[in-house]
Every structure is written in structure tokens, then in C-alpha cells.
């Protein structure tokens, strides 16, 4: 519109006709554009176009509403599709993202170095952001202030010049007035090819005084009064002669540039005009941008460098530590010869040296222990052999004498009997002792294979039948199953059961003994219940102790070694089973052996109850003293005491249990 003419900064007088011809449209356009401005804020160019379109739209409301609905539907569909796409994308990417997050979290937890470097980076980035923001703010302020001061003084001067020119002007005819005003204003723009300042010249609205109708408004380039912030206009309009400024944006070509508008009132021929001079801040903005770019780049480089430094420093500190961790892991895994690399004399080197020292003494100790264990094993084996050969001879000789005892006189006969019995007892003790020391040396090995435990029970019962007859106890087997195949070392289980039953016979006072067998999906249980003297909780707690007897004053009727139950506990532990004892003074006792059906599987629950069901009936619940002694395994719902610690079920065979009956 106006720009075509105003592009040329210094139009000569000769061209004024042309400008004249063009000015009326300016005048005409101006009111239509200025009037809506107060309400429309800074909306500049589209004002003239708004009107026609609006009326057009009003004319075709139904068509437009239909179209709007159509577009609305289309938009809805597009939004739905996009949403679906996003959702499927998310669901595809989510596992990956989750994995990434998880691995990152793991790294964060596990890597001290990553944590330190990331923290350092974050902290330095935030401190740079603060410092950078402060710096660029300060610089921008300074630049602006400088420009503002300059703008204000320049405006003051220019406005004064304009006012003086206007005051001295002779108002004769329209064209000369217009020429004068325009020339004056053009002079304000500055000299040379560079526009130093732009202006907006506008008649102050709502004036009561008679007005100069020849000059309404005028501005540099394509500027209109709309670029001037309304607040500034209001301030200028309401003031007398004061000068106001405001920062604003104005269009140059296609871009918007920042600027300062300084406004004043000038009077020409009795008419008040608002004169705004607009100072371009583009160069200042560019300088600021440049500085900010430098700040950004410098900050980024610094942050990267700090990150690298942090990485390097932490690596220096952390790598010996992680090396130590690695080495100690290897040590723990049994690679006792593993050592740390020691360099220099600093703290890390000291750590390494003391670590190595520790590892060396550990290795020494462990080797010593291993040798000791080996020696013990050898010793057991040697003692076993060395003792057994002479014992065999003695035993055979004793038996030959015993068989011939009827030919001896009474003294020799009794001696032969004593010799024979005590050799038997000695032999049984020795066998038990050797068995126990085998367990202690950790050389006992499980020789498990699937066997029917019921036939084993029957077999054991056959074996102990003579002893049972001696005590007068009846042995009752309670079992619903026809056969239960258990993966077990039959000889050991045989020994355990025989020990339990003999123990029950010994303390059963001739009353019946119940042997219950039951299985569930993971375990089999055998409970040996006697109804004899029973035991107190303290006694039950010690029942699996070696050489322990409930009553030391009691006669040793069966001549057992006192190791039977200890060996049973060890044998059970070897099977990963449970051997538990329950006792009640006067109500007898119950020993429960629970074995996993398959080796290597854990027992979930014992198929049999440890506390016999018949107890609650005969004894008042208040008097009931329940005590459970556990061997090897956890579990049981009643308070449990460990009778045997966790050993190392390992290697090698066993003694033949020669305390046969």
C-alpha cells in the first residue's frame, strides 16, 4: 500500500505530486485501520480483509456450518488415527523403553562412576544455566539501556527540531503543507542509506480544537499506528509534553524486529499529533544473540569437559575399587591365588596391599584347613583299618572261647562271656565313632536310588523283632499306601529306622509302638511313636546330642553307644530330610523322619503330624509340653530347635552298621 513510496527515504520536491496523489488513500485507509486498533491490540495487516470475509460468511451460514462440521469430523478422525498410531507405537516401544529404563536404573544403582559423572553433569549444567541466564540478562539489559538512552536523547532532539519546523511553517496551501510535513518527517528518518529511526505520525484522536485536515497520518515503510503499543499511545495522548517509551516489535520486510518506540506530542497549526520514533534494536538483538550463542557453545564445551574430567577422575578412583571387587569375588569363588595389582604408594595402593595381605592369610588358612581335613580323613581311614584288623582277631578269638565256654570252669566261663559281650560292645562303639567322624570329616556320601520304603520298614521290623519280643512291645505299622518309592540311600534309612525303633523299644516300657508311614506329593514321613516314659522339653532338645542320655543314672540296658540318634540325624541331613522329636513326660515320645521323594527337591510339608493326635485326648492341653527338635531342616509349626547344624553332605561311603541284631 504505502510502502511503494516510502521505500525511497528522501523524496525530492519534484516527486511530491506523486506522493500527493498517493496520500489520499493513506488518509482513507488510516481511519478504517486505526479505529479497530484499540480493541484489536497488535493485529496489523488482516484488518481490511476481515470485513469482507465476515460478511461473506454471514451470507452462507448453513454452507459454512456444514463445512465446519465436515472439517470437524475429519479432524476428529485424524486425531483418532493419530492417537491409535501413538498408542500402538507406544505399546510396541514400551517394552523396549521399559527395558532401557530398567537397565539404566540398574547401571545407576550398580555403577558408582556413572552416578558420579551424571550427577556432576547435572549439577554443572544447572549452574551453567543459572550463570548463563544471569550473564545474558545483564548484557541484554545493558545493551537495551544504552540504546534506550540514545533513543530518548535523539528523540528529544528530533522532536524539538520537528516542532520548531512546524511552528515556523506558513500554512498556505495543502500541497505545501504536506510537502513541509513530509520533508520534516523524512529528515527525522536520518541520512544515508541506512534508516536510523522510523516514525509514526498520527493525529491525536478526539480533538476538540479545530484541526488541520490536510495532514492526518504518516509513517515510515509499511508501518501503521497499530505497531505502537496502545499503552504507549494512551500515555502519550494523556500527557502534555512528556516523552514516553515502550519496547515493541515492528515488521521489516517479512520479519518482525524488536524496537523501542519513543512517543511525543507535536502540534502543527493548532492540531496535536502523536509522533513516535521507532529505533531498531535488531543490531543489539543480533549482538545479544551472538553473545548467547557463544555462551551456549562455551557452556556446552565446558559441561562436556567437566563430564570428561569427572569420568576420568572417578575412573581413577573407582577402577581400583571395582578391581578389588572383582578380585574378591574370584577369591570368594575359590580362586585363592587371585591378587590385586599394586602400583604406587597412595591410598589405593595401600588398599591393594592390605587386600593382598588378607587374601594371602586367607589362602594360607584355607589351605591349612583343607590339609587338616584331609589329614583327619586319612586318620579316620587309617584308624579304621588299623583298629579293625586286630579287633577282628580279638572278636573271632572271643567267639571261639565263648562257643567253648561250657567246657570251662565257672570263672573262666564267666570271663569268656564278659569278654565276648564287651568285645561286641566295643566293636559297636568303634563303628559308631568311625561313622560320626566320617560325617565330621565331611566324607559321608549319599548313595541314593529309588527304593520302596515300605519293604524297607518291613525289613527293619523283621530285624528288630527279637529285641521287641525281649521288651514285650508290640510294633504296629499304620500305613494306607501299598508302596512308596523314595529316592534314598537304603542302608542309611535302614540304620535311621532301626535306631528310632530300638530307641522307642528301650524307652517304651513294653507298651505298643506305632510306626506310621505316609506320603504326599513331595515327601514321605515315618513316625515312630512310643507310649513310654516320654521326655521333657529340655530332654527332647538334647536327644540328638552325642553320648547324651535322658537319665545318666539309668542303667544302660541295650548297651547302645549313645551315638545312634546323632548318626540318624546326620544321615537325615545327608538326605536333605527332617528328623524331629516330640516328647511329653509320661505320654511317650514321637520321632518323625521326613524325606523328600526325590533327591534335590525340597520338602514342602511333612505328610505326618509331629505331635501325635492321641495326645490331646489323654493330657489336658494346659499341661501339654510340646517340644520339637529339628535336625537338618527348617519347618514345623511348633517351636523348633536345631539339633544338628548345617553340615556339608559330601563324598564317600559309610561304615557297615554292624550293631546288627
Amino acid at each position: 500500500m504505502v510502502s511503494a513510496i516510502k521505500q525511497v527515504p528522501e523524496p525530492s520536491k519534484g516527486r511530491s505530486g506523486e506522493t500527493d496523489a498517493q496520500s489520499p488513500p493513506v488518509e482513507r485507509v488510516a481511519p478504517s485501520s486505526t479505529k479497530p486498533t484499540p480493541s484489536l491490540e497488535t493485529d496489523r495487516p488482516p484488518v481490511p480483509e476481515h470485513g469482507p470475509e465476515h460478511t461473506d460468511a454471514l451470507a452462507n451460514v448453513p454452507a459454512l456450518s456444514f463445512r465446519a462440521r465436515l472439517w470437524g469430523r475429519r479432524a476428529q478422525i485424524v486425531i483418532l488415527r493419530v492417537l491409535r498410531l501413538v498408542r500402538t507405537g507406544l505399546s510396541r516401544a514400551l517394552p523396549g523403553i521399559r527395558f532401557l529404563l530398567r537397565s539404566l536404573r540398574r547401571r545407576w544403582r550398580r555403577s558408582l562412576q556413572l552416578r558420579t559423572v551424571l550427577t556432576t553433569l547435572l549439577l554443572s549444567i544447572s549452574s551453567f544455566a543459572v550463570v548463563g541466564a544471569y550473564l545474558s540478562n545483564q548484557i541484554a539489559n545493558n545493551l537495551f539501556q544504552e540504546r534506550l538512552t540514545q533513543a530518548e536523547s535523539e528523540t528529544l532532539y528530533n522532536v524539538k527540531q520537528v516542532q520548531e519546523t512546524f511552528d515556523g511553517a506558513q500554512v498556505t496551501n495543502q500541497s505545501s503543507v504536506i510537502t513541509l510535513v513530509y520533508d520534516t518527517l523524512n529528515a527525522v528518518e536520518g541520512r544515508g542509506n541506512v534508516i536510523q529511526r522510523r516514525y509514526v505520525f498520527e493525529a491525536k484522536p478526539e480533538q476538540t480544537k479545530p484541526r488541520n485536515r490536510w495532514v492526518e497520518s504518516r509513517a515510515s515503510d509499511q508501518l501503521t499506528i497499530n505497531v505502537i503499543p496502545p499503552e504507549l499511545r494512551r500515555a502519550v495522548q494523556e500527557s502534555g509534553k512528556e516523552q514516553f517509551w515502550a519496547s515493541m516489535e515492528f515488521p521489516v520486510g517479512t520479519e518482525d524486529r524488536p524496537g523501542i518506540a519513543v512517543g511525543n506530542l507535536v502540534t502543527f497549526n493548532g492540531t496535536a499529533y502523536e509522533l513516535y520514533l521507532i529505533y531498531d534494536l535488531n543490531s543489539a538483538q543480533m549482538t545479544l544473540d551472538e553473545i548467547q550463542n557463544v555462551l551456549w557453545a562455551g557452556g556446552a564445551v565446558l559441561v562436556l569437559m567437566i563430564g570428561a574430567i569427572a569420568w576420568y577422575v572417578t575412573r581413577n578412583v573407582v577402577s581400583p575399587v571395582s578391581h578389588a571387587a572383582l578380585v574378591s569375588e574370584k577369591l570368594a569363588a575359590g580362586q585363592l591365588q587371585e591378587r590385586m595389582v599394586v602400583k604406587g604408594e597412595d591410598e589405593v595402593a595401600r588398599l591393594g596391599a592390605s587386600f593382598n595381605h588378607m587374601a594371602a592369610s586367607l589362602q594360607e588358612q584355607i589351605t591349612q584347613l583343607a590339609t587338616l581335613s584331609q589329614m583327619q580323613q586319612r586318620f579316620v581311614s587309617d584308624v579304621s583299618h588299623e583298629l579293625r584288623t586286630p579287633l577282628t582277631t580279638v572278636r573271632m578269638a572271643a567267639e571261639v572261647l565263648y562257643d567253648a565256654r561250657h567246657d570251662f570252669d565257672p570263672i573262666n566261663k564267666r570271663s569268656a562271656e564278659l569278654l565276648y559281650n564287651q568285645v561286641e560292645r566295643f566293636q559297636s562303639l568303634l563303628a559308631d565313632l568311625l561313622e560320626i567322624s566320617r560325617f565330621d570329616a565331611g566324607v559321608a556320601r549319599l548313595d541314593a536310588e529309588p527304593t520302596d520304603i515300605l519293604s524297607l520298614v518291613t525289613h527293619v521290623l523283621d530285624g528288630v523283632a527279637p529285641v521287641a519280643a525281649e521288651y514285650g512291645s508290640e510294633i504296629v505299622v499304620i500305613c494306607r499306601e501299598k508302596g512308596i518309592v523314595v529316592e534314598m540311600d537304603a542302608r542309611r534309612i535302614d540304620r535311621i529306622l532301626r535306631n528310632l525303633i530300638l530307641n522307642a523299644l528301650e524307652h517304651g516300657e513294653g507298651k505298643p509302638i506305632h510306626v506310621s508311614v505316609a506320603a504326599n506329593e513331595s515327601a514321605v514321613a515315618i513316625a515312630v511313636r512310643d507310649h513310654g516314659i516320654g521326655m521333657t522339653p529340655t530332654e527332647a532338645a538334647r536327644v540328638f546330642d552325642r553320648f547324651w542320655r535322658a537319665d545318666p543314672a539309668r542303667a544302660r540296658t541295650t548297651g547302645g553307644s549313645g551315638l545312634g540318634l546323632s548318626i540318624a540325624a546326620e544321615d537325615t541331613k545327608l538326605h536333605d530330610g527332617w528328623l524331629q522329636a516330640w516328647g511329653n513326660k509320661g505320654a511317650g515320645s514321637n520321632f518323625r523322619l521326613t524325606l523328600p521323594l526325590r533327591q534335590g527337591e525340597a520338602i514342602v510339608k511333612s505328610p505326618l503330624q509331629l505331635e501325635p493326635a492321641d495326645v490331646g485326648l489323654s493330657v489336658r492341653s494346659g499341661d501339654r509340653s510340646t517340644l520339637v527338635v529339628n535336625s537338618g531342616a527348617p519347618a514345623s509349626n511348633t517351636p523348633a530347635l536345631e539339633a544338628a547344624g548345617q553340615g556339608v553332605p559330601e563324598e564317600s561311603g559309610r561304615e557297615e552298621d554292624t550293631r546288627d541284631h
Binding site: V485, R654, E656
Partner: protein
């Protein structure tokens, strides 16, 4: 005629004691205190049974057992002080038929000896078959087709016991009673080791047996 028994043991007292017991029960003991001379004495004395201590100076018992087994099917009963599984199994695998762990009772020893001397007297002419194996009981012959298979008396007894009742599953305890003559429980490893040895001789593929089958959790039976 008295059965002659070679006692290979380096412990003189024990050997003498064993001699007393054996003589008492009507056997004729021959002694050898050194593993190195065991084979020589075995050849010269031609015993009906060998009692062999596993721990011997010079050549050890297992080696002696292997040497004797190399030239004879005579029953061998080991005397062991170490009843570690590995030792017992090694002894059995080297060819011993049975073992007696120290310290043993005289009656136990004599029972073992008698049990091993028992077979061979009364055998009716009888021909048995398991899978593709033919057993001539009286002639003590085992063959697959025309191929002869050589078994020790114990292995032969084991095979015959299984073959006589091919419908029956034998528990290890039952086999111990029938083949080894144990009245009470004994070490079932005896059965395991001997079944393995038997399989290595008569099976085409001992890993996939056809003649002597394992019945899991119970024992063994003859193949069909």
C-alpha cells in the same frame, strides 16, 4: 574231601585266627602273606575258594583279585577293613564275588565261604532262554547263537536265578538271598555291581540292556 581255602592276608594273627576257625569247620586253609606271591601259591595249591584281604603289602588285593580272575573262575571273597563305597565297588568290579567287612564274626565268615562253595553239586539238565541267550544249566554253558559267553559261577547263578522265573521281578534282597545266600540284609551294592558285570558280558549294548532289565524302584527281571 575237604575244601581248600587260600587265605591271603598280611596280618599273621588274623590269618592264624581265620585258619583256626576254618579248620574248626572242616576246611583246609592255605596261607599267603604277600600279594606278590599270591598268584604263585594260588597256582600251586589250586584252592576251591580265595579269602583275600584288600590291603596287602606289595601287590594290592584288587590287583591280586584281577590276576586270579584272569586265569580262574574260582570264588573270591574279599576281606575289607575299609568299607568305603569306592573300595568295595572297586573290589567287586575287579572280580570278587562277595565281601566280608571287618570286624566279622567267625560264623559270618564261614557262612560266606559255605555260600560260595555251595553251587556246582546238584544241577539237573536244563536249558533256559532269556532274549537271545541260551543257558545250559548242567553244562554251565551260556551262548548267544553259536557264540560262547564265559561267566563266573556267581554270574552264572545270577543269570540262572533270573532266567528260571522270567515273569518275576527280583528285588535286590531276594537276589542276595537266592544267589549269595544271605539270610539277613546285606549290601545291595553286591547286586548292582554284579548285574553290571553280567551285563557287560552278555548284553549287546550294556547301556540299553535286553537280557537283564532294571525295574525302577524294585529290582531286576529277565528280558523276554
Amino acid at each position: 574231601m575237604k575244601a581248600r581255602i587260600l587265605v591271603v592276608d598280611d596280618d599273621e594273627a588274623l590269618a592264624e585266627m581265620i585258619g583256626i576257625v576254618l579248620r574248626n569247620d572242616g576246611f583246609e586253609p592255605v596261607f599267603c602273606a604277600d600279594g606278590g606271591q599270591a598268584l604263585e601259591i594260588f597256582r600251586s595249591s589250586k584252592p576251591d575258594l580265595v579269602l583275600l584281604d584288600l590291603m596287602l603289602p606289595g601287590v594290592d588285593g584288587i590287583e591280586v583279585c584281577r590276576q586270579i580272575r584272569g586265569e580262574s573262575d574260582v570264588p573270591i571273597v574279599m576281606l575289607t577293613a575299609k568299607s568305603d563305597t569306592s573300595d568295595v565297588v572297586r573290589g567287586l568290579e575287579s572280580g570278587a564275588d562277595d565281601y566280608v567287612p571287618k570286624p566279622f564274626k567267625p560264623a559270618e565268615l564261614v557262612a560266606r565261604v559255605r555260600a560260595r562253595l555251595r553251587p556246582g553239586d546238584q544241577k539237573a539238565p536244563e536249558t533256559l532262554r532269556i532274549a537271545d541267550i541260551t543257558i545250559d544249566v548242567a553244562g554251565h554253558l551260556v551262548s548267544r547263537g553259536s557264540e560262547r559267553i564265559s561267566l563266573t559261577p556267581l554270574e552264572f547263578d545270577l543269570l540262572v536265578a533270573l532266567a528260571r522265573k522270567p515273569w518275576q521281578v527280583f528285588t535286590r534282597e531276594l537276589l542276595l538271598e537266592q544267589v549269595w545266600g544271605y539270610r539277613h540284609a546285606a549290601d545291595t551294592r553286591l547286586v548292582n555291581v554284579h548285574v553290571q558285570r553280567l551285563r557287560s558280558k552278555i548284553e549287546r549294548d550294556p547301556e540299553a540292556p535286553e537280557v537283564v532289565l532294571t525295574v525302577r524302584g524294585v529290582g531286576y527281571k529277565a528280558g523276554s
